[in-house]
Subunit: 348 residues, 2 copies
C-alpha cells in the first residue's frame, strides 16, 4: 500500500519508526506492506514512487533538514501542489499529521478533499479539519468511494470511536460524557490534591511539559470540543461542527469549587457532553471512584445506552507513539476493508 | 434475513420482544428485516417459512406451552432433527440461546456445526460450545464461508470482544485481566462492605436472585473461565479451551483475606487472567479505585497493550435484555458484512 505522509512532527516521526519496526509483523499478520512514496513537512516535500527509506527520512529530519532538501522535489506551496504531489507519487493513502490548527483548518481540509477526489483513502489525526468540516469530508469520502479514517483524533491509541460505534449496533446512545483532555485533567487533579490555585497548577503543568506554552486550546476547552464533535458525528450521527458547541473552559476556576465538590465526594473534571440538549463542554462534577474520575493524563468516556445502560472506556489519551499506533490501526483497517471478501471471518 | 431461534428462555424471549419493537428501526437504519422462520424450545419446535409472529410465540410461551404445540411441527430429538428443521425452514441464520451447560456442550456444538455446514450464519450466546470447542467452530465457519458471532457471551450488552479485537490492530495485547462474573463480584463486595462470611453473603445473593440456587458455575470460577477462554481465542488468537485454564474459585474464601487486602487499599476480585504464563482464574487483589475495582454486577476488562499501555472497559455484564441486544448487534453485523461493498464508509 502506497502512502504519502503529510507532517513530520512528533506523530509523523513515531509513525516512520513504527513503519520500519513493524514491517515484518504487518506483512505476516495482515499481509500489509506499506510503502512510503511521499513525505511533506512545513518547508518542502520529497516524492519517490519507488519508496523512501523511513530511517533515511528520520535521520535527515533529526539533523534539522526539511524533507524538501532530500531529493528531487522540494517546494512549498498551495493546494495545487498538494494535488500534484499526491498524483505524481502514485499514493493510495494519504496520512495527515500536520498540527491541529482549529482557527485555520482550510489547508488541511483542502488537502484531504483533494486526495479523496483523486481516489486516495485518507488517515487523519489532525483534529481541525474534522472538528470543522466532518459532515462534508464524510460525504466526499462516500462520493469518491474511499475510506476516511481518524481513530487517532480521539483517545490517541485507545480506540474510542470504533468502540462507541460498535455500541450503537442494535442499541442507541442516549448520552455521552467524556474526559478527553489530559492537560486540564492534570491541572484539576493537581489543584484538588495539592490545594493549589489554577495559576500555580497551570505553571506546574507547563514546567513538566504537560501543557504547551500557549495552553489556551486545552484550558479554554477547544481541544475537548473538537474531540466531542468528532465523537458526536462518528458515533451519534449528529452533523455538528465546532460552532455548535457551547464551550466553557477551566481558566481561573476557583479552588473553592473543587473543595466543595470534594465534600460531596465528587471530583471536578472538564467534561464534554452530548445529549438531547446538544453538544457542550464545561467543568462538571463526577462521583469519586466512578469511571470518569480518572487521574492525570487518562481519558475516559461513558456512554449511556438505551438498553445496556452505562458503559465506560478508560485509557491513556495522548502521546506521539500512541497516536502513531492509531494510524497503523487505521491503515490495517483500510487494507482489510479493501481486500477482504468479508466472509468466512469469525468476529464478534 | 431468515432467522431460526433455538432456546426460548429469558434471553430468547427478550430477543423476540426486541425483534417486534425494533422492526421499524432496524429496517430504517440498517435495511435489515429479520424474519423468524423457526423457533425451538426444550420440548419441541415450530417452523414456518413464511414467518412467525413474535408476539404469538411469546404469548404461547407465557401460557406455559411449548412452541412445539403451536403449529405443524412439534417433536424432540437428536442432531438429525436440528438439521432437518433448519433446512426446511430456509433459515439463513441460527440464533443459539439454549442454556449454557459447560459439562455437556455437545448438543449445542453439533447444532452450530450442522447449521454452518448448511451454509447458515450463526449467532451464539451459549458459552458452552465456544468455551469447549471454539477453535474448531471458527474453522467450520471459515471453511463454510459463513459468519459466526458471539458478542453476547462476554459482557452481555457491553461489546467487550469487538473492542478487544480492535485494540489489537496495529498493537499487541501483552496481558488481560478481567472481572467477568457478577455473582462472585456481588458476594466479594458484600463480604468486604458488611464484614460478612462467604456463606452469609452467598445466601444473600441467592435470596436477592443474583445467584442461581446451584451457584457452583459462578463461585467455582467456571463461568469466568468460559468467558476468558472466549476472549483469549477471539482477541489474542490463542487456541485454548476450558481444560487449559487453571481455575480457583472463591468458595469459602476467608473474610480475613478481604480485610487484609483492604488494609493495603485493595479489593479482592475473581480475576480471569491471560498472559505469558497462560490462562487462569482466581481471586486476586486490585487497587481500590482502579478500573477493575467495579461494584456489584458490573464487569470490567483491562488490557495491557504493548504501545498504548492499559485500556479498560467497564459496563454491566449480565441481563436478558442486554444479551438480546448483543444478538441484534450480531445480526446487524452479519447483515452488513454480507451486503456492504466495504467501500465509501467513513468509520474510524
Amino acid at each position: 500500500m502506497r502512502v504519502f505522509l503529510f507532517g513530520v512532527g512528533v506523530v509523523g516521526r513515531h509513525l516512520l519508526r513504527l513503519m520500519a519496526e513493524e514491517r515484518r509483523a504487518l506483512s505476516d499478520r495482515h499481509g500489509l506492506v506499506p510503502r512510503l512514496v511521499g513525505v511533506a513537512d512545513s518547508r518542502g516535500r520529497c516524492i519517490c514512487p519507488d519508496g523512501l527509506d523511513e530511517q533515511a527520512v528520520l535521520q535527515h529530519k533529526e539533523q534539522g533538514g526539511s524533507v524538501g532538501t532530500m531529493a528531487r522535489w522540494g517546494t512549498l506551496g498551495g493546494t495545487g501542489e498538494d494535488v500534484e504531489s499526491i498524483r505524481s507519487s502514485g499514493a493510495e493513502v494519504i496520512i495527515e499529521t500536520t498540527p491541529t490548527n482549529l482557527r485555520e483548518p482550510i489547508r488541511a481540509i483542502e488537502r484531504l478533499r483533494a486526495a479523496m477526489a483523486l481516489g486516495c483513502h485518507a488517515v487523519c489525526v489532525n483534529k481541525a479539519p474534522l472538528a470543522t468540516a466532518m459532515p462534508a469530508l464524510v460525504e466526499v469520502a462516500s462520493y469518491n468511494r474511499v475510506h476516511l479514517r481518524y481513530s487517532g483524533t480521539v483517545g490517541a491509541g485507545t480506540p474510542v470511536l470504533a468502540w462507541a460505534e460498535r455500541c450503537t449496533l442494535g442499541d442507541r446512545i442516549l448520552s455521552t460524557r467524556a474526559v478527553l483532555n489530559g492537560t486540564t485533567n492534570f491541572i484539576l487533579t493537581r489543584m484538588a490534591d495539592h490545594a493549589e490555585t489554577f495559576e500555580a497548577a497551570l505553571a506546574e503543568a507547563v514546567r513538566l511539559g504537560y501543557a504547551e506554552t500557549d495552553p489556551s486550546n486545552d484550558i479554554d476547552g477547544l481541544d475537548t470540543a473538537a474531540k466531542i464533535v468528532i465523537l458526536a458525528n462518528h458515533a451519534m450521527r449528529l452533523r455538528v461542527g465546532l460552532p455548535q458547541v457551547r464551550i466553557t473552559g477551566i481558566r481561573g476556576i476557583p479552588l473553592d469549587h473543587l473543595r466543595q465538590a470534594r465534600e460531596r465526594r465528587c471530583s471536578v473534571k472538564l467534561i464534554g457532553q452530548i445529549d438531547a440538549e446538544g453538544v457542550r463542554v464545561g467543568p462538571a462534577e463526577v462521583p469519586v471512584g466512578s469511571p470518569l474520575d480518572v487521574p492525570g493524563s487518562m481519558n475516559a468516556v461513558t456512554l449511556t445506552l438505551e438498553r445496556t445502560g452505562e458503559v465506560s472506556l478508560v485509557g491513556r489519551g495522548a502521546g506521539g507513539r500512541e497516536t502513531a499506533t492509531a494510524i497503523i490501526r487505521d491503515l490495517v483497517d483500510i487494507w482489510q476493508c479493501t481486500t477482504r471478501a468479508g466472509i468466512g471471518s469469525a468476529r464478534a
